[in-house]
Amino acid sequence: MNDIVIQTDKIVKTYASGSNEVHALRGIDLTVQRGEFVAIMGASGSGKSTLMNLLGCLDTPTSGSYSLDGVRVDGLDKNALAAIRNQKLGFVFQGFNLLPRTSAVENVELPLLYDRSGKKRDTQALAVAALTRVGLGDRMDHQPSELSGGQQQRVAIARALVTEPALVLADEPTGNLDTRTSTEVMALFQELNEQGITIVLVTHEHDIAVYAKRIVEVRDGRIRRDEPVKNRRSAMDDLQQEERSAA
């Protein structure tokens, strides 16, 4: 076990847009230890989405190096990246990105079906366990259209967890949710982090970022701020407080 989950060294990403070059990332050095809960913040155009794509092994840097869970990722080919995504990463997206007309348990099972490591595992049982872990044990056979937004995001989180990844990457996971549901989802993330899961969260909302342990702010393709969260909030406490005030 490697204790450093993310280690990037002067990551640069340049896009060719017509005749101009767009410098999306101008050299990012970021290290994330196992068990951290990092919020990456930044306005649109700051380069945080590009960073997210690189950290998620969906894209490769123009220069610089990136190691994920002790594996050098830059320079790997498409198929190797697919395998890394499958085994070391769990994604949670803003738009949930569940397969429509497919039951919750089948959605959660999906990453296991692409596992080439050859471990013969009972994929269905693991999917059931992951759904139970996010509190949806009674919604196994529901299709996404039969679930609320919060529930859909829980299914997506279960899908991210089912492969026991080294890192869960959440891209604006609360962007499509109302305040209360957002807090619920953040409570779940905090709970999972307590259990030792490393989480990197991309958000532009400060209210959400304060549930993380560390905030990394990106601006113009560089890290502007990287500090622990002062006055860290507990989403569970917020929920209970809200209930009390409602009563």
Partner: protein, 404 residues
Amino acid sequence: MRTRTLIKVATASIQKNRMRAALTMLGIIIGVAAVIVMVAVGYGARTRIREQINNLGTNMIVITPGASTQGGVSQGAQAFPNLSLKDVDKIRNESQYVSAISPVIVSRTAVIGPAGNWRTTINGVDTDYQIIRDWQPSSGDFFSADDVRSTRKVAVLGNTVAQNLFPGQDPVGTDIQIRNAVYRVVGVLSVKGQNASGNDSDDVVLIPYTTASTALSGRSFIPQILASTSNSQDIAPAEDEITSILREAHKTDGTNDDFTVKNQNDLAQTAASSTNVMTMLLAAIASISLLVGGIGIMNIMLVSVTERTREIGIRMAIGARGSDVLTQFLVESVVMGILGGIAGLALGVISAKLVGHFTGWETTISPVIMAVAVAFSGAVGIFFGYYPARKAAALNPIQALRYE
């Protein structure tokens, strides 16, 4: 992904778009059904033709005048009165292989009986005719050699003629009128049914050829001579023998023959060539339909890839390789092809049975043809599914995930 999972994923996505998948498969369904019907009906038609040719008579040889070339111009059969009774006698006397021979003097005229009149074909023939055509009377007798020698006015009626002139009665022993002359009915022939060209074989009256040439046609030439051998091995030598006898009699040498000798195999081939045309036509329809069906699959798969761009993005993000996505879409189009093939097979078998039911043809479909048809539709699925599947596999996961 394991094969079972792949097939499950493919069939699941087809199930989610049932109506669309069914419409997409329609081209394949029609194509395969056409192939099945084509094969079944083709087989039935060939069997039927074989039966009908055998029905003509056993080991029969047909000699017709004409089909010669004169000055480089091919003359149609019967353009010239080239066969005579002398030819018949000569073949009968000189041939070793021919066991029965009869001239056929054809005329069409009305026959008057007690229940009205009936326009039919009058064939002037010899007594051997019943051997050559393997055609026995069901009532009464065939006329005798003595009747032929004596130019008697006697007639044997085909079943259709008998039923029209003597409904519900046995005409044997009664009289009929042919061209103002009275003929005594001596027999009624057994039912023969349709011949290869679809005409009613039983719509005929047989009279002695001697009587026909004097009383009816007044002409000495013969439009057709029928001969037969006692067994099928003799047919080929008999044909050669007849040809050389007639060449000697007509003083021709093979370049200017004024007669044609054919056996029933030749007739069968002629008839078969017409069914071959039909088979080719159905094959053309089938292949066009399969082509269009394949294009339909390609079209709908392209739509499906575009529609499911986001799904492809999700799958890639969670670890699907390009090859996984390619296989998924390829399996989907193959499953669609095979399902279409199976549905087409069912439709084809039912149609073939219906055709068989209404035509009375024997429509048998071999399991090999069925397997080939289904396998081929699967191949169509692979061929036309490959391009859309490759397009899906080549998608960039980031852009695919962002696709709305």
